[in-house]
């Protein structure tokens, strides 16, 4: 039960500004029970360090080179307690408040920092996930309104791939994952297909089947298949099943 108390809490600090990391380092100094196991300045490094060190606690900046804080969160999941750090981001803050995720607004003082630390420790002791919602959902609700997903970050081990949505041919649901098909390759990402569908621009992507979202630009033709079902044939020859409801949606789109 008290196994955690015997070992140190392992923390990672992610911020692209050295001075910003320094503040957190200093504020952590009076806490010998917390060990800083890594620091990094961009999203790619963050994913790498987190997958290597598996920290308990992450201080995560939102605006960073390579990947922003939400993309990092999507890739590392909610295995660690996360405290977001940002200077100014009204949409993100609203999302944090709605989903009860802890965040620090720069500049912050020791008192506010301690409060965030206490909350993080509580979370770690109770083994509750950092956020009450999946990472993808938190990221989606923090996206500025009327802004659709422009790119999808995926991870293979410590390696990160960025898929621009314009290069996504189709997505296929596979249990808890979606397989993203791009340029003949497939990348797996832990995300329900419905949440991916909601994040994509509906004028460019269409859910044609319970398990498939297709990039409309890639559809070459729609053919009947069997008695009353259809298949969508993509430009690269791939055939995707189209459900009856999906066919109606596809028809409505093609007729426009």
């Amino acid at each position: 039960m008290n196994s955690r108390k015997d070992t140190k809490t392992r923390a990672v600090i992610v911020d692209d500004e050295e001075l910003a990391r320094q503040v957190i380092r200093e504020l952590l100094a009076p806490h010998p029970e917390i060990e800083i196991v890594g620091e990094c300045a961009n999203g790619f490094e963050a994913v790498k360090i987190v997958s290597e060190t598996k920290p308990d606690l992450i201080f995560l900046d939102i605006q960073m080179p390579k990947l922003d804080g939400f993309e990092v969160l999507e890739l590392i999941g909610t295995g660690s307690a996360i405290v977001f750090v940002t200077a100014y981001d009204s949409y993100a803050i609203r999302a944090f408040e709605v989903h009860a995720v802890d965040y620090l607004l720069k500049p912050f003082g020791a008192e506010r920092f301690e409060a965030a630390l206490d909350r993080a420790k509580e979370r770690l002791d109770s083994k509750a996930p950092s956020a009450a919602v999946p990472a993808t959902e938190l990221a989606a609700s923090a996206r500025p309104p009327a802004q659709y997903l422009e790119r999808i970050p995926v991870r293979d081990g410590a390696q990160v791939f960025i898929i621009p949505v314009s290069k996504l041919d189709f997505a296929e649901a596979q249990d808890d994952y979606v397989a993203l098909s791009t340029e003949g390759k497939k990348h797996l990402k832990q995300q329900p297909i419905s949440s991916l569908e909601a994040a994509l621009d509906p004028s460019r992507f269409l859910r044609i089947h319970r398990s498939y979202i297709v990039n409309l630009e890639r559809v070459a033709k729609v053919e009947p298949y069997g008695k009353d079902s259809h298949v969508a044939v993509l430009r690269n020859g791939v055939q995707l099943p189209v459900s009856r409801a999906g066919y109606a949606r596809l028809r409505a789109f093609l007729d426009r």
């Binding site: 050295e18 080179p65 100014y88």
Partner: protein
């Protein structure tokens, strides 16, 4: 204010215009009524002088019933009735005058000759009155379109001023909060540097606010604002950026709208340098050529950077709109990205203290 009565010179001109009318009337009176030339002139001159003033009154009825708030039928009804009444009164005055001339034996038998010209007087009276009415309506229309134009102009100027004020008052909150955070970090590690940054930030903010009253500043002044901004960013980003300036000597004295270039440099940071792990550069070129001041701000950026979450391109839109509002066709704005380089080129008239060079 009556457009003719309000100024003596206009009234004189107006009365002068009635002289040919009086001549015409006297000719008609002589021809139709069989009056002698002297009789006709003695009648028509006072009558026209009188009717000139009667017609002036049409202005008030025109103003009372504007064309846009009544139907054509209603307008015709009112003004034709007024015209009939006016010429009726006029004829009465003519009768009175002729009666006096006859009674005083100046022109014996004039009343009889006048009675033959009554249809002419009635026709002329109605036509002249209605002509005045349409003249005043044209005048009112011109006046209201001028007023509308003036209002529109005023609104444009007001909007531009408001936008400028807003722009000047607006310091990117990101920049401000991040700078404060850097100061907070420096207070323990390097107190002297923390103080330096406070001073630099204060200097930048003061300059930004101080530019509020000016409509243009020399490029040199804008550059020193940019230097104040860069000094703060230098502490935040350390060795992550390099600034390069190629500014022709004569360009420094040219007028530019305040805070035109600073947002471009700030943009180069938020969309460029801030996303580059290895850092990057910003280059600012300015030179005068063929009466135009041309400025290019170029920077490196990461084409694969995460999409920005706030103020996306607002700085650029503002700069473009301000150039357009102020200079119209005389200015140009062009933003383009090529590979990992982004550049904004602007040209504006090369002016010094408001004068073309």
């Amino acid at each position: 204010m009556h457009p003719i009565l309000s100024r003596l010179s206009r009234l004189a001109l107006y009365l002068l215009a009635w002289i040919p009318l009086a001549a015409l009337l006297s000719y008609l009176m002589a021809a139709v009524g069989g009056m002698t030339r002297r009789e006709a002139v003695s009648m028509s001159l006072p009558l026209c002088l009188l009717y000139a003033f009667v017609c002036l009154s049409a202005w008030y009825s025109c103003r009372a019933i504007p064309t846009d708030r009544s139907t054509i039928g209603k307008l015709l009804e009112v003004h034709v009735a007024a015209a009939l009444v006016a010429s009726g009164l006029w004829i009465l005055c003519a009768e009175l005058l002729a009666y006096l001339f006859t009674g005083m034996s100046v022109y014996p038998g004039l009343t009889a000759r006048l009675s033959r010209t009554i249809p002419i007087l009635l026709g002329t009276g109605v036509i002249l009155y209605l002509f005045s009415v349409s003249f005043y309506y044209v005048l009112l229309a011109v006046e209201s379109s001028q007023a509308a134009e003036a209002r529109a102009m005023e609104a444009r100027v007001f909007a531009r001023d408001a936008e400028l004020r807003a722009l000047k008052a607006q310091v990117n909150p990101h920049f401000l909060f991040n700078s404060l955070n850097s100061i907070s970090a420096l207070t323990t590690s390097d107190a002297a540097k923390a103080r330096e940054m406070c001073v630099l930030l204060g200097d930048f903010l003061r300059r930004t606010l101080g530019l509020g009253e000016k409509s243009t500043i020399p490029l040199e002044e804008e550059m020193s604002l940019i230097h104040a901004f860069l000094a703060v960013e230098k502490i935040r980003f350390g060795a992550r950026f390099r600034m390069e300036e190629n500014i022709a000597e004569e360009a420094l004295a040219m007028d530019v709208p305040p805070l035109l270039l600073q947002p471009l440099v700030e943009n180069a940071f938020t969309h460029g340098i801030a996303n580059l792990v290895e850092g990057g550069w910003i280059r600012l070129d300015a030179r005068c050529q063929n009466g135009a001041l041309s400025i290019v701000v170029e920077n490196t950026f990461d084409p694969d950077a995460p999409p920005r979450r706030q103020r996306n391109g607002m700085g650029l839109v503002n700069v473009r709109q301000r150039l357009e509002a102020r200079y119209g066709d005389r200015a140009s704005f062009n933003a383009k990205s090529e590979g990992d380089r982004f550049s904004v080129s602007i040209t504006l008239p090369a002016e010094r203290e408001g004068r073309a060079t």
